[in-house]
Homo-oligomer: 250 residues x 2
Amino acid sequence: MGGATVLPVEGLPEVTLTFNIGKAIAGQIQLEDGDIIAVSQKIVSKSEGRVVRLDETDPGPEAVSLAARAGKDPRLVQHILDESRSVIRVDEERGILITETSHGFICANAGIDQSNTGAEDEAILLPLDPDGSARRIRVELETAASVRTAVLVTDSFGRAWRQGQVEVAIGCAGIQPLDDWRGEKDQRGRELTATVISLADQLAAASDLVRSKTDGVPAVVLRGLGHFVTEDDGPGCAAQLRDPADDLFR
Amino acid sequence: MGGATVLPVEGLPEVTLTFNIGKAIAGQIQLEDGDIIAVSQKIVSKSEGRVVRLDETDPGPEAVSLAARAGKDPRLVQHILDESRSVIRVDEERGILITETSHGFICANAGIDQSNTGAEDEAILLPLDPDGSARRIRVELETAASVRTAVLVTDSFGRAWRQGQVEVAIGCAGIQPLDDWRGEKDQRGRELTATVISLADQLAAASDLVRSKTDGVPAVVLRGLGHFVTEDDGPGCAAQLRDPADDLFR
Protein backbone atom coordinates (compact mmCIF):
# COMPACT_ATOMS: atom_id res chain seq x y z
CA MET A 1 0.00 0.00 0.00
CA GLY A 2 1.36 3.44 -0.82
CA GLY A 3 1.30 6.61 1.23
CA ALA A 4 -1.43 9.18 1.67
CA THR A 5 -1.47 12.96 1.68
CA VAL A 6 -3.68 15.22 3.76
CA LEU A 7 -4.19 18.70 2.28
CA PRO A 8 -6.09 21.61 3.82
CA VAL A 9 -8.36 23.53 1.44
CA GLU A 10 -7.47 27.17 2.06
CA GLY A 11 -9.35 30.29 1.12
CA LEU A 12 -12.95 29.12 1.13
CA PRO A 13 -15.39 32.04 1.36
CA GLU A 14 -17.96 32.51 4.11
CA VAL A 15 -20.73 29.94 3.75
CA THR A 16 -24.32 31.08 3.42
CA LEU A 17 -27.66 29.40 2.82
CA THR A 18 -27.76 27.22 -0.35
CA PHE A 19 -24.00 27.71 -0.79
CA ASN A 20 -22.53 25.18 -3.25
CA ILE A 21 -19.78 23.70 -1.06
CA GLY A 22 -18.50 21.25 -3.66
CA LYS A 23 -18.09 23.94 -6.29
CA ALA A 24 -16.29 26.21 -3.83
CA ILE A 25 -13.85 23.44 -2.85
CA ALA A 26 -13.21 22.54 -6.49
CA GLY A 27 -12.43 26.22 -7.11
CA GLN A 28 -9.71 26.26 -4.44
CA ILE A 29 -7.84 23.01 -5.08
CA GLN A 30 -7.17 20.84 -8.13
CA LEU A 31 -9.12 17.70 -7.27
CA GLU A 32 -8.10 14.26 -8.52
CA ASP A 33 -10.00 11.04 -9.07
CA GLY A 34 -10.13 9.09 -5.82
CA ASP A 35 -9.80 12.10 -3.53
CA ILE A 36 -11.68 11.89 -0.25
CA ILE A 37 -12.98 15.27 0.90
CA ALA A 38 -13.74 15.86 4.58
CA VAL A 39 -16.07 18.80 5.20
CA SER A 40 -16.76 20.30 8.63
CA GLN A 41 -20.31 19.91 9.86
CA LYS A 42 -20.51 23.60 10.63
CA ILE A 43 -20.36 24.83 7.04
CA VAL A 44 -22.67 22.04 5.91
CA SER A 45 -25.23 23.11 8.51
CA LYS A 46 -24.89 26.77 7.52
CA SER A 47 -25.43 25.92 3.86
CA GLU A 48 -28.60 24.07 4.87
CA GLY A 49 -29.99 26.81 7.08
CA ARG A 50 -29.60 24.78 10.26
CA VAL A 51 -29.07 27.90 12.34
CA VAL A 52 -31.45 28.99 15.11
CA ARG A 53 -31.75 32.24 17.04
CA LEU A 54 -31.80 31.88 20.80
CA ASP A 55 -33.71 35.14 21.28
CA GLU A 56 -36.59 33.58 19.34
CA THR A 57 -36.56 30.43 21.48
CA ASP A 58 -39.09 29.87 24.25
CA PRO A 59 -37.78 27.15 26.57
CA GLY A 60 -40.24 24.71 28.12
CA PRO A 61 -40.22 23.37 31.68
CA GLU A 62 -37.94 20.37 30.97
CA ALA A 63 -35.38 22.65 29.32
CA VAL A 64 -35.55 25.10 32.21
CA SER A 65 -35.05 22.30 34.74
CA LEU A 66 -32.15 20.64 32.88
CA ALA A 67 -30.55 24.02 32.23
CA ALA A 68 -30.55 24.74 35.94
CA ARG A 69 -28.89 21.39 36.68
CA ALA A 70 -26.21 21.81 34.05
CA GLY A 71 -25.71 25.57 34.37
CA LYS A 72 -26.66 26.16 30.74
CA ASP A 73 -28.79 28.62 28.81
CA PRO A 74 -32.38 27.19 28.90
CA ARG A 75 -32.96 28.34 25.31
CA LEU A 76 -29.95 26.33 24.15
CA VAL A 77 -31.13 23.35 26.19
CA GLN A 78 -34.51 23.57 24.46
CA HIS A 79 -32.78 23.14 21.10
CA ILE A 80 -30.67 20.29 22.47
CA LEU A 81 -33.87 18.53 23.54
CA ASP A 82 -35.56 19.28 20.21
CA GLU A 83 -32.63 17.65 18.39
CA SER A 84 -32.49 14.58 20.66
CA ARG A 85 -34.29 11.31 21.15
CA SER A 86 -33.17 11.02 24.76
CA VAL A 87 -30.83 12.45 27.37
CA ILE A 88 -28.15 9.87 28.20
CA ARG A 89 -26.23 11.71 30.96
CA VAL A 90 -26.17 15.17 32.53
CA ASP A 91 -22.63 16.27 33.30
CA GLU A 92 -23.38 18.91 35.92
CA GLU A 93 -19.69 19.52 36.61
CA ARG A 94 -18.83 20.49 33.05
CA GLY A 95 -22.23 21.77 31.97
CA ILE A 96 -22.74 19.20 29.24
CA LEU A 97 -25.84 17.25 28.25
CA ILE A 98 -24.91 13.98 26.60
CA THR A 99 -27.82 13.01 24.41
CA GLU A 100 -28.76 10.67 21.63
CA THR A 101 -29.53 12.86 18.64
CA SER A 102 -32.39 12.28 16.25
CA HIS A 103 -29.83 10.58 13.95
CA GLY A 104 -28.71 8.22 16.73
CA PHE A 105 -25.36 9.85 17.52
CA ILE A 106 -24.41 10.06 21.19
CA CYS A 107 -22.53 13.28 21.79
CA ALA A 108 -22.36 16.44 23.88
CA ASN A 109 -25.20 18.94 23.56
CA ALA A 110 -26.70 17.19 20.51
CA GLY A 111 -23.76 18.48 18.50
CA ILE A 112 -25.06 22.05 18.72
CA ASP A 113 -22.32 24.60 18.34
CA GLN A 114 -22.31 28.17 19.55
CA SER A 115 -18.83 29.27 18.51
CA ASN A 116 -18.03 30.96 15.19
CA THR A 117 -21.67 31.73 14.44
CA GLY A 118 -21.16 35.44 13.97
CA ALA A 119 -23.77 36.44 16.52
CA GLU A 120 -23.96 35.84 20.25
CA ASP A 121 -27.51 34.51 20.16
CA GLU A 122 -27.25 31.97 17.36
CA ALA A 123 -26.60 28.26 17.49
CA ILE A 124 -25.77 25.83 14.70
CA LEU A 125 -27.59 22.49 14.67
CA LEU A 126 -26.29 19.31 13.06
CA PRO A 127 -27.55 18.69 9.51
CA LEU A 128 -30.92 16.90 9.45
CA ASP A 129 -29.46 14.11 7.30
CA PRO A 130 -25.64 14.21 7.24
CA ASP A 131 -25.43 11.23 4.88
CA GLY A 132 -27.72 13.10 2.50
CA SER A 133 -25.51 16.18 2.87
CA ALA A 134 -22.46 14.10 1.94
CA ARG A 135 -24.25 12.71 -1.11
CA ARG A 136 -25.24 16.23 -2.20
CA ILE A 137 -21.69 17.58 -1.84
CA ARG A 138 -20.36 14.56 -3.72
CA VAL A 139 -22.61 15.46 -6.65
CA GLU A 140 -21.53 19.10 -6.43
CA LEU A 141 -17.85 18.04 -6.53
CA GLU A 142 -18.36 15.70 -9.47
CA THR A 143 -20.28 18.36 -11.35
CA ALA A 144 -17.66 21.02 -10.70
CA ALA A 145 -14.49 18.98 -11.18
CA SER A 146 -15.52 15.90 -13.23
CA VAL A 147 -13.83 13.55 -10.79
CA ARG A 148 -15.04 10.67 -8.66
CA THR A 149 -14.59 11.49 -5.00
CA ALA A 150 -15.87 10.41 -1.64
CA VAL A 151 -17.21 12.89 0.90
CA LEU A 152 -17.26 12.88 4.69
CA VAL A 153 -19.15 15.31 6.89
CA THR A 154 -17.21 15.53 10.15
CA ASP A 155 -17.57 16.90 13.65
CA SER A 156 -15.56 16.81 16.91
CA PHE A 157 -16.98 14.39 19.48
CA GLY A 158 -15.80 13.55 22.96
CA ARG A 159 -15.43 9.93 24.01
CA ALA A 160 -16.08 7.84 27.07
CA TRP A 161 -12.96 7.10 29.18
CA ARG A 162 -10.49 9.16 27.16
CA GLN A 163 -9.93 12.89 27.42
CA GLY A 164 -10.03 15.13 24.39
CA GLN A 165 -12.23 15.29 21.37
CA VAL A 166 -11.58 13.56 18.07
CA GLU A 167 -13.00 14.38 14.68
CA VAL A 168 -15.49 11.70 13.60
CA ALA A 169 -17.63 11.18 10.52
CA ILE A 170 -21.34 11.90 10.91
CA GLY A 171 -22.10 11.53 7.21
CA CYS A 172 -20.41 9.94 4.22
CA ALA A 173 -20.91 9.11 0.56
CA GLY A 174 -18.72 7.11 -1.80
CA ILE A 175 -17.08 5.07 0.91
CA GLN A 176 -17.87 2.11 3.16
CA PRO A 177 -17.72 3.61 6.66
CA LEU A 178 -16.79 0.25 8.17
CA ASP A 179 -13.93 -1.75 6.71
CA ASP A 180 -14.73 -5.34 7.59
CA TRP A 181 -11.82 -7.80 7.84
CA ARG A 182 -13.73 -10.55 9.60
CA GLY A 183 -13.13 -13.91 7.97
CA GLU A 184 -9.84 -12.72 6.44
CA LYS A 185 -6.63 -14.43 7.48
CA ASP A 186 -3.67 -12.72 9.11
CA GLN A 187 -0.07 -13.31 8.04
CA ARG A 188 0.07 -16.56 10.00
CA GLY A 189 -3.14 -17.86 8.50
CA ARG A 190 -5.17 -17.25 11.65
CA GLU A 191 -8.65 -15.92 11.05
CA LEU A 192 -9.23 -12.29 12.11
CA THR A 193 -12.27 -12.63 14.27
CA ALA A 194 -13.20 -9.19 15.51
CA THR A 195 -11.67 -6.74 13.13
CA VAL A 196 -14.07 -4.16 11.82
CA ILE A 197 -12.30 -0.85 11.33
CA SER A 198 -14.10 2.46 11.35
CA LEU A 199 -12.54 3.77 8.17
CA ALA A 200 -14.79 6.85 8.09
CA ASP A 201 -13.79 7.91 11.60
CA GLN A 202 -10.09 7.29 10.93
CA LEU A 203 -10.30 9.46 7.80
CA ALA A 204 -12.12 12.16 9.77
CA ALA A 205 -9.43 12.10 12.47
CA ALA A 206 -6.68 12.38 9.86
CA SER A 207 -8.39 15.38 8.27
CA ASP A 208 -8.18 17.31 11.53
CA LEU A 209 -4.37 17.12 11.65
CA VAL A 210 -3.80 19.86 9.06
CA ARG A 211 -5.81 22.66 10.57
CA SER A 212 -6.06 24.49 13.83
CA LYS A 213 -9.27 25.27 15.64
CA THR A 214 -8.79 28.96 14.91
CA ASP A 215 -7.72 29.04 11.27
CA GLY A 216 -11.12 28.29 9.81
CA VAL A 217 -10.20 25.55 7.34
CA PRO A 218 -13.50 23.71 6.93
CA ALA A 219 -12.45 21.27 4.20
CA VAL A 220 -9.56 18.86 3.82
CA VAL A 221 -8.57 16.56 0.95
CA LEU A 222 -7.21 13.07 1.67
CA ARG A 223 -5.31 11.81 -1.37
CA GLY A 224 -3.77 8.45 -2.24
CA LEU A 225 -6.62 6.47 -0.72
CA GLY A 226 -8.70 6.08 -3.88
CA HIS A 227 -8.94 2.31 -3.34
CA PHE A 228 -11.48 3.13 -0.63
CA VAL A 229 -13.69 5.19 -2.97
CA THR A 230 -16.73 3.34 -4.27
CA GLU A 231 -18.93 3.97 -7.28
CA ASP A 232 -22.09 3.87 -5.17
CA ASP A 233 -22.73 6.28 -2.36
CA GLY A 234 -22.88 3.32 0.04
CA PRO A 235 -24.77 2.99 3.32
CA GLY A 236 -23.57 6.23 4.89
CA CYS A 237 -22.54 6.76 8.49
CA ALA A 238 -25.91 5.51 9.73
CA ALA A 239 -24.27 2.08 9.31
CA GLN A 240 -21.74 3.01 11.99
CA LEU A 241 -24.27 3.36 14.76
CA ARG A 242 -24.32 0.65 17.36
CA ASP A 243 -27.71 -0.95 17.91
CA PRO A 244 -28.92 0.36 21.30
CA ALA A 245 -29.81 -3.20 22.35
CA ASP A 246 -26.20 -4.11 21.64
CA ASP A 247 -24.67 -1.16 23.48
CA LEU A 248 -23.35 -1.69 27.00
CA PHE A 249 -22.67 1.99 27.72
CA ARG A 250 -25.96 3.85 27.75
CA MET B 1 -0.83 25.18 7.81
CA GLY B 2 0.64 22.89 5.14
CA GLY B 3 -0.28 19.34 4.28
CA ALA B 4 0.85 16.10 5.85
CA THR B 5 2.01 12.78 4.43
CA VAL B 6 1.38 9.34 5.86
CA LEU B 7 3.95 6.72 4.80
CA PRO B 8 3.93 3.01 5.64
CA VAL B 9 7.30 1.54 6.66
CA GLU B 10 7.61 -1.58 4.53
CA GLY B 11 9.92 -4.55 4.93
CA LEU B 12 10.51 -4.63 8.68
CA PRO B 13 11.84 -8.01 9.82
CA GLU B 14 10.14 -10.25 12.37
CA VAL B 15 10.41 -8.72 15.82
CA THR B 16 12.00 -10.71 18.62
CA LEU B 17 12.92 -10.04 22.25
CA THR B 18 15.16 -6.96 22.75
CA PHE B 19 14.73 -6.07 19.06
CA ASN B 20 15.82 -2.47 18.35
CA ILE B 21 12.64 -1.18 16.69
CA GLY B 22 13.92 2.35 16.11
CA LYS B 23 17.05 1.14 14.36
CA ALA B 24 15.03 -1.23 12.18
CA ILE B 25 12.64 1.57 11.13
CA ALA B 26 15.52 3.94 10.41
CA GLY B 27 17.02 1.22 8.20
CA GLN B 28 13.88 0.99 6.07
CA ILE B 29 12.97 4.65 5.52
CA GLN B 30 14.90 7.91 5.32
CA LEU B 31 13.66 9.72 8.42
CA GLU B 32 13.47 13.51 8.63
CA ASP B 33 13.49 15.94 11.53
CA GLY B 34 9.96 16.36 12.82
CA ASP B 35 8.71 12.96 11.67
CA ILE B 36 6.14 11.31 13.91
CA ILE B 37 6.45 7.52 13.96
CA ALA B 38 3.48 5.36 14.93
CA VAL B 39 4.43 1.84 16.01
CA SER B 40 1.93 -0.98 16.53
CA GLN B 41 1.63 -2.21 20.08
CA LYS B 42 2.11 -5.77 18.98
CA ILE B 43 5.73 -5.43 17.87
CA VAL B 44 6.52 -3.29 20.91
CA SER B 45 5.14 -6.00 23.18
CA LYS B 46 7.08 -8.70 21.36
CA SER B 47 10.31 -6.73 21.68
CA GLU B 48 9.65 -6.48 25.42
CA GLY B 49 8.83 -10.15 25.93
CA ARG B 50 5.19 -9.47 26.77
CA VAL B 51 4.12 -12.83 25.37
CA VAL B 52 2.54 -15.57 27.48
CA ARG B 53 1.84 -19.23 26.77
CA LEU B 54 -1.67 -20.37 27.46
CA ASP B 55 -0.62 -23.98 28.02
CA GLU B 56 1.43 -22.79 30.99
CA THR B 57 -1.49 -20.83 32.46
CA ASP B 58 -3.56 -22.20 35.34
CA PRO B 59 -6.86 -20.29 35.50
CA GLY B 60 -8.38 -19.54 38.90
CA PRO B 61 -12.06 -19.72 39.85
CA GLU B 62 -12.92 -16.12 38.82
CA ALA B 63 -11.38 -16.69 35.39
CA VAL B 64 -13.23 -19.98 34.98
CA SER B 65 -16.53 -18.37 35.93
CA LEU B 66 -16.09 -15.31 33.67
CA ALA B 67 -14.89 -17.51 30.83
CA ALA B 68 -18.07 -19.57 31.05
CA ARG B 69 -20.21 -16.40 30.93
CA ALA B 70 -18.38 -14.94 27.94
CA GLY B 71 -17.63 -18.19 26.10
CA LYS B 72 -13.89 -17.60 26.25
CA ASP B 73 -10.80 -19.66 27.00
CA PRO B 74 -10.39 -19.56 30.83
CA ARG B 75 -6.60 -19.37 30.46
CA LEU B 76 -6.93 -16.25 28.33
CA VAL B 77 -9.42 -14.79 30.82
CA GLN B 78 -6.88 -15.37 33.61
CA HIS B 79 -4.39 -13.19 31.75
CA ILE B 80 -7.08 -10.56 31.08
CA LEU B 81 -7.76 -10.43 34.82
CA ASP B 82 -4.04 -10.33 35.64
CA GLU B 83 -3.65 -7.32 33.34
CA SER B 84 -6.70 -5.47 34.69
CA ARG B 85 -7.68 -3.36 37.68
CA SER B 86 -11.37 -4.13 37.23
CA VAL B 87 -13.93 -5.66 34.91
CA ILE B 88 -16.20 -2.89 33.53
CA ARG B 89 -18.63 -4.97 31.45
CA VAL B 90 -19.04 -8.55 30.28
CA ASP B 91 -20.32 -8.71 26.71
CA GLU B 92 -21.71 -12.24 26.74
CA GLU B 93 -23.12 -11.90 23.22
CA ARG B 94 -19.80 -11.11 21.59
CA GLY B 95 -17.51 -12.88 24.06
CA ILE B 96 -15.68 -9.74 25.15
CA LEU B 97 -14.56 -8.62 28.59
CA ILE B 98 -14.31 -4.86 28.78
CA THR B 99 -11.84 -4.09 31.54
CA GLU B 100 -9.77 -1.27 32.91
CA THR B 101 -6.16 -2.27 32.37
CA SER B 102 -3.40 -1.73 34.90
CA HIS B 103 -2.51 1.42 32.91
CA GLY B 104 -6.06 2.77 33.16
CA PHE B 105 -7.17 2.06 29.57
CA ILE B 106 -10.71 0.78 29.11
CA CYS B 107 -10.75 -1.68 26.25
CA ALA B 108 -11.73 -5.17 25.15
CA ASN B 109 -9.93 -8.12 26.75
CA ALA B 110 -7.28 -5.90 28.39
CA GLY B 111 -5.79 -5.33 24.94
CA ILE B 112 -4.58 -8.92 24.79
CA ASP B 113 -4.16 -10.16 21.25
CA GLN B 114 -4.19 -13.72 20.02
CA SER B 115 -3.79 -13.17 16.29
CA ASN B 116 -0.43 -13.14 14.51
CA THR B 117 1.41 -14.67 17.44
CA GLY B 118 2.84 -17.57 15.47
CA ALA B 119 1.50 -20.20 17.82
CA GLU B 120 -2.03 -21.17 18.71
CA ASP B 121 -1.42 -21.08 22.45
CA GLU B 122 0.31 -17.72 22.81
CA ALA B 123 -1.11 -14.34 23.64
CA ILE B 124 0.46 -10.90 23.45
CA LEU B 125 -0.06 -8.55 26.39
CA LEU B 126 0.08 -4.76 26.21
CA PRO B 127 3.47 -3.24 27.12
CA LEU B 128 3.86 -2.71 30.87
CA ASP B 129 4.58 0.99 30.32
CA PRO B 130 3.67 2.11 26.78
CA ASP B 131 4.86 5.67 27.42
CA GLY B 132 8.20 4.25 28.48
CA SER B 133 8.23 2.10 25.34
CA ALA B 134 7.64 5.21 23.22
CA ARG B 135 10.49 7.03 24.97
CA ARG B 136 12.82 4.09 24.39
CA ILE B 137 11.97 3.85 20.67
CA ARG B 138 12.40 7.62 20.36
CA VAL B 139 15.96 7.27 21.68
CA GLU B 140 16.59 4.33 19.33
CA LEU B 141 15.38 6.44 16.37
CA GLU B 142 17.48 9.45 17.32
CA THR B 143 20.53 7.26 17.82
CA ALA B 144 20.06 5.49 14.49
CA ALA B 145 19.04 8.45 12.32
CA SER B 146 20.24 11.59 14.15
CA VAL B 147 16.84 13.23 13.83
CA ARG B 148 14.33 14.56 16.32
CA THR B 149 11.11 12.56 16.09
CA ALA B 150 8.04 11.83 18.12
CA VAL B 151 6.84 8.28 18.74
CA LEU B 152 3.39 6.83 19.28
CA VAL B 153 2.63 3.29 20.38
CA THR B 154 -0.79 2.44 18.96
CA ASP B 155 -3.49 -0.20 19.25
CA SER B 156 -7.02 -0.74 17.88
CA PHE B 157 -9.74 -0.05 20.45
CA GLY B 158 -13.51 -0.29 20.16
CA ARG B 159 -15.68 2.59 21.34
CA ALA B 160 -18.95 3.04 23.15
CA TRP B 161 -21.91 3.85 20.86
CA ARG B 162 -20.08 3.57 17.54
CA GLN B 163 -19.34 0.40 15.64
CA GLY B 164 -15.84 -0.44 14.47
CA GLN B 165 -12.44 -0.08 16.02
CA VAL B 166 -10.12 2.88 15.63
CA GLU B 167 -6.40 3.03 16.17
CA VAL B 168 -5.59 5.00 19.32
CA ALA B 169 -2.36 5.96 21.06
CA ILE B 170 -1.53 4.03 24.21
CA GLY B 171 1.93 5.55 24.58
CA CYS B 172 3.73 8.60 23.23
CA ALA B 173 6.95 10.57 23.52
CA GLY B 174 7.92 13.88 21.97
CA ILE B 175 4.38 15.14 21.61
CA GLN B 176 1.62 16.60 23.77
CA PRO B 177 -1.17 14.00 23.53
CA LEU B 178 -3.82 16.65 24.17
CA ASP B 179 -3.84 19.83 22.12
CA ASP B 180 -5.54 22.39 24.34
CA TRP B 181 -7.29 25.32 22.63
CA ARG B 182 -9.27 26.46 25.66
CA GLY B 183 -8.95 30.20 26.18
CA GLU B 184 -8.03 30.78 22.53
CA LYS B 185 -10.35 32.87 20.38
CA ASP B 186 -12.07 31.67 17.23
CA GLN B 187 -12.22 33.70 14.01
CA ARG B 188 -15.05 35.82 15.37
CA GLY B 189 -13.24 36.53 18.63
CA ARG B 190 -15.41 34.19 20.67
CA GLU B 191 -13.54 32.18 23.26
CA LEU B 192 -13.25 28.44 22.53
CA THR B 193 -14.55 26.95 25.74
CA ALA B 194 -14.37 23.20 25.44
CA THR B 195 -11.85 22.43 22.79
CA VAL B 196 -9.23 19.93 23.84
CA ILE B 197 -8.22 17.79 20.90
CA SER B 198 -6.75 14.35 21.28
CA LEU B 199 -3.85 14.89 18.92
CA ALA B 200 -2.24 11.55 19.80
CA ASP B 201 -5.38 9.59 18.95
CA GLN B 202 -5.93 11.51 15.72
CA LEU B 203 -2.34 10.77 14.65
CA ALA B 204 -2.84 7.10 15.55
CA ALA B 205 -6.03 6.95 13.48
CA ALA B 206 -4.28 8.56 10.50
CA SER B 207 -1.45 6.02 10.72
CA ASP B 208 -3.90 3.16 10.23
CA LEU B 209 -5.06 4.46 6.83
CA VAL B 210 -2.00 3.24 4.92
CA ARG B 211 -1.99 -0.40 5.89
CA SER B 212 -4.35 -3.31 5.85
CA LYS B 213 -4.91 -5.67 8.75
CA THR B 214 -3.24 -8.46 6.79
CA ASP B 215 -0.17 -6.80 5.29
CA GLY B 216 1.85 -6.66 8.48
CA VAL B 217 3.01 -3.05 8.34
CA PRO B 218 3.70 -2.30 12.01
CA ALA B 219 5.16 1.20 11.63
CA VAL B 220 4.00 4.33 9.84
CA VAL B 221 5.66 7.73 9.43
CA LEU B 222 3.56 10.92 9.63
CA ARG B 223 5.46 13.76 7.97
CA GLY B 224 4.82 17.50 7.71
CA LEU B 225 3.57 17.78 11.30
CA GLY B 226 6.88 18.68 12.91
CA HIS B 227 5.29 21.69 14.65
CA PHE B 228 3.72 19.15 17.02
CA VAL B 229 7.08 17.56 17.94
CA THR B 230 8.51 18.72 21.25
CA GLU B 231 12.02 18.64 22.62
CA ASP B 232 10.88 16.97 25.83
CA ASP B 233 9.23 13.59 25.87
CA GLY B 234 6.17 15.21 27.46
CA PRO B 235 3.54 13.66 29.74
CA GLY B 236 2.81 10.59 27.63
CA CYS B 237 -0.60 9.08 26.97
CA ALA B 238 -1.23 8.66 30.69
CA ALA B 239 -2.33 12.32 30.46
CA GLN B 240 -5.15 11.26 28.14
CA LEU B 241 -6.92 9.10 30.69
CA ARG B 242 -10.11 10.46 32.13
CA ASP B 243 -10.23 10.62 35.92
CA PRO B 244 -12.62 7.80 36.96
CA ALA B 245 -14.44 10.23 39.30
CA ASP B 246 -15.02 12.40 36.23
CA ASP B 247 -16.19 9.60 33.96
CA LEU B 248 -19.91 9.10 33.43
CA PHE B 249 -19.62 5.85 31.50
CA ARG B 250 -18.21 3.18 33.79
